[in-house]
Structure formats: structure tokens, C-alpha cells
Symmetry: C2
Subunit: 149 residues, 2 copies
DNA sequence: GCTTGACCTCAACTTAAGTTTAGGTAGCAG
DNA sequence: CTGCTACCTAAACTTAAGTTGAGGTCAAGC
């Protein structure tokens, strides 16, 4: 296989092709401040090639469940917004990992509750952890309330 | 503790109180066809008390990641929309469980990839499973493309 | 010299799951 | 009778993450 050499500056079309993100979405990210470009003489966007990396990070972060706003503040917290270093990546990665861990834990709990509940038929709402997930008897808050049927 | 007796028919306010779902959301669910009510002489909604159970199911399904549209078709598939039986619940529950399983698996994979990637510093995009999650070299589809930097 | 393709901007549209607002009714308490 | 509370409807608004469309520029190829 031949090596493709990426030029230092790439067009929005190329960025789109390389990241799988549509041009309109890239424009959108730019409006949101997630990525930045220069312009050439014809007012076309030119991105430094390492923006590919930033867009990739955005995709991963989205897959782990972060909103673009979250991602923007993560990126804003980086020492150098345009060059993402290995240390940056380690930091972000471990923050995202623990986010994923949290989510996995929650979903697992929900699934286990469901296992219990399906077995016990507690759909009756009477002592059901699943249908009364958030409250102790009589406690205030969101979620279904205990009620004698 | 004294037993609260639920009347056969309950108002929207009571349904809201018992399920933790706002009145406006209950109206909305009704417009969507997820729940149904009768009206009294003053045109107020009256729900048969087991609608509490339906709303509870909706909440659980939402927590497992289903959209209201999905939920509507799940409910539509039940033999009797207003009385949810134990068998119904077992069916729904196991479908929802496998949905949760899928999600848990995906998130776990993502987290593990992240572990690998953080260790190897492959942020370079060259052989990174995380940043190139969807494609083999040269394959078409969504997601970042391999590119020699 | 005309067309084509890639790019530009701005504004309006989309979907989901509701919330908010405005204006109106019905029944009970004092 | 007045006020309060719970309820009613319809329509507009909200947020996120974009997409779509209209109208315009610019450089290259034939």
C-alpha cells in the first residue's frame, strides 16, 4: 500500500472525507467553537491537518455520551487547543472512561433489577425496586409512588 | 402504616402524583396514544387505576433507552392494552433486558478500547481501533478514516 | 465562454419529548 | 357572590445536533 501524504492544510471536504463527518456538521462544529479554520484567498476554509484528530476526539466523546457543550468545555480545558498531546489524550481518556463506567454500572443495575422483577412478578408495584426505583416508602421525588392497588 | 385505597378511577393529578410524571407529560402521552382516559361530566380525564402500571412501564422502557414511539409499538403489541398481565411483563422485560445487554456490551467495548488506546498512545490515528472504530483500511462508511500523517 | 464542482452564507426546517402560556370551565369554601 | 383549585384546550416555545435550501463566488476543464 502506498502512503498517502496529508498536506499541512486541508479543505473542509477533505476533512469530511477523512473523518466521516458531513460538511454541514463541520460548519456547525465551527460555529460552536469546537474547531477553528483559516481561510484562503477565495474564503474557503483551511484546517491544519491535526484538526482531524480533534474531530476524532469529538466523535469518541459523543459515543461515550457527552454533549457538544460538554465536549467544548473539555477541549477548552486543554492547554493547547490545536495540538492535542499524548498527555491531553490520557487525561480526556480517563475522564471519559469513568463516565463510561458510571453508565455501564447504571445500565447493569437496571438490567439486574429487571431480572429480579421478571422472576418475582412484582409488577404489582408493591415492593418493586424497578417500578419504584427512586423512592423509599413515602419519600418525595421523581419516579412512581407506592400505592396499594 | 395505613393502607391507602386507590379508587378504580383516578384523575390526571393523582396519576401524576403517583407516577412522578407531570400532568403536561401525561396529556402528551395521551395525545401520542400511549395511555387512554375516559371523561367525567366536567370533561375531566379519568384513568382506570392500572394506567399507573402502564406509565410505570413507560418510565422503565425510557430508562432502558427506548423512544416513546418504540414504546408505543411495544404496547400496541400487547393483547390487552389496559390490563398488563404477568406474561406481558415477562415478554417486555426480556426484550428490554436484551436491549440493555446490547448497550452494556457496546459501552464496555468502547471503554476497553479506550484503555488500550490510552496505554499505547495511538492517538496518532495510525492503527487506532478507537479512532477508527468502524472501518477496515480503505473500507467505506461512517467514522474516521486512516490517514498517514 | 460555459459548465461543473467545491466552496461560501444565512435562514429555515427537523425530531424528540416535553414545557409554557393564554384563555376558559366547574365545583367547593367562606 | 367571590375566590381558589383542579382541570380543560390549543398553540407556541424549548434544546440538541444537525440538515436542507436558496442564492452566490471562484477556478478548472472543454
Amino acid at each position: 500500500m502506498q502512503k498517502k501524504i496529508i498536506p499541512e492544510w486541508i479543505s473542509v471536504g477533505m476533512l469530511s472525507e477523512r473523518t466521516g463527518v458531513s460538511v454541514s456538521a463541520l460548519h456547525f462544529y465551527e460555529r460552536k467553537g469546537l474547531i477553528k479554520s483559516h481561510r484562503n484567498a477565495s474564503n474557503h476554509r483551511l484546517y491544519p491537518k491535526h484538526v482531524i484528530r480533534i474531530v476524532s476526539l469529538i466523535l469518541v466523546a459523543q459515543r461515550t455520551g457527552f454533549s457538544l457543550e460538554d465536549i467544548l468545555s473539555e477541549l477548552a480545558g486543554l492547554p493547547n487547543r490545536t495540538r492535542v498531546t499524548l498527555e491531553d489524550w490520557e487525561q480526556l481518556g480517563s475522564r471519559w472512561q469513568s463516565e463510561l463506567d458510571k453508565k455501564i454500572t447504571q445500565l447493569t443495575e437496571l438490567r439486574d433489577m429487571m431480572t429480579d422483577c421478571i422472576g418475582c412478578g412484582c409488577l404489582s408495584l408493591e415492593r418493586c425496586r424497578l417500578l419504584n426505583p427512586y423512592d423509599e416508602l413515602g419519600e418525595k421525588g421523581a419516579g412512581p409512588r407506592l400505592m396499594t392497588e
